[in-house]
Subunit: 114 residues, 2 copies
Amino acid sequence: MYPYWYIAAMDAVLQALADPSRRTVLKILRDHEATAGELADALPIARPGVSRHLRVLREAGLVDVRQEAQRRIYALRPEALVPVDDWLADYRALWENRLDALHTEIARGKKARK
Amino acid sequence: MYPYWYIAAMDAVLQALADPSRRTVLKILRDHEATAGELADALPIARPGVSRHLRVLREAGLVDVRQEAQRRIYALRPEALVPVDDWLADYRALWENRLDALHTEIARGKKARK
DNA sequence: TGGGTACATACCCGCAAGGCTACATACTTG
DNA sequence: CAAGTATGTAGCCTTGCGGGTATGTACCCA
């Protein structure tokens, strides 16, 4: 359904990232692939709930599934996060300036206190 | 209510970013501060809706307000995005590897077609 | 001090999201 | 092919979210 190069609209990705259960799934898949059952065991909710979360992640392009006998093996598709990173890039310069200013301010404060 | 160094839990930030209207507000504030009215005019929804969106953004630490006569002037607090950037960092290495592999694959395909 | 301006809050509504139980599907194996 | 295993789907319920209208609240100015 989703070719290997598919990157969902950032909207769907951010929507998917908004849920902590789904972020937990991503965290696990960051280290290794996992079956739906393994992922379900790691979450405090029942299987069907996990299935739906996995569907959201799939439709956002964040994970891939392959079937192996009765098992569905899920794998991370980190490139789906690229649009989010690009979006963030537009703001990165701003907070870097601000943090620099803050550090300068702190340094100045220390000096003044001497 | 929120001191200048306050950074909300990433959870609230991602939740706030999930809504397109709120992302529009951030995009506007990226360029310049704006009053609530100006922000409302830029969105296709009524004032009270905008007020609520602004509240969510405030509580996530993404914007700051200051009052000037009857006007509330909103400004971006880009440092609230730092946790999201840090979170993304854990995945960046992964997609960079993958994209490298993809490019290699494409290059190989081109070569083979010659 | 009364009227106008700029926002926020209160309240209601409709819908989508997330949880659960029950059931269907698909594959393996005796 | 029957039983078991692994997972997804259907249907139901509750809650939260986003949108709207009506109503404060705070400030300026004549």
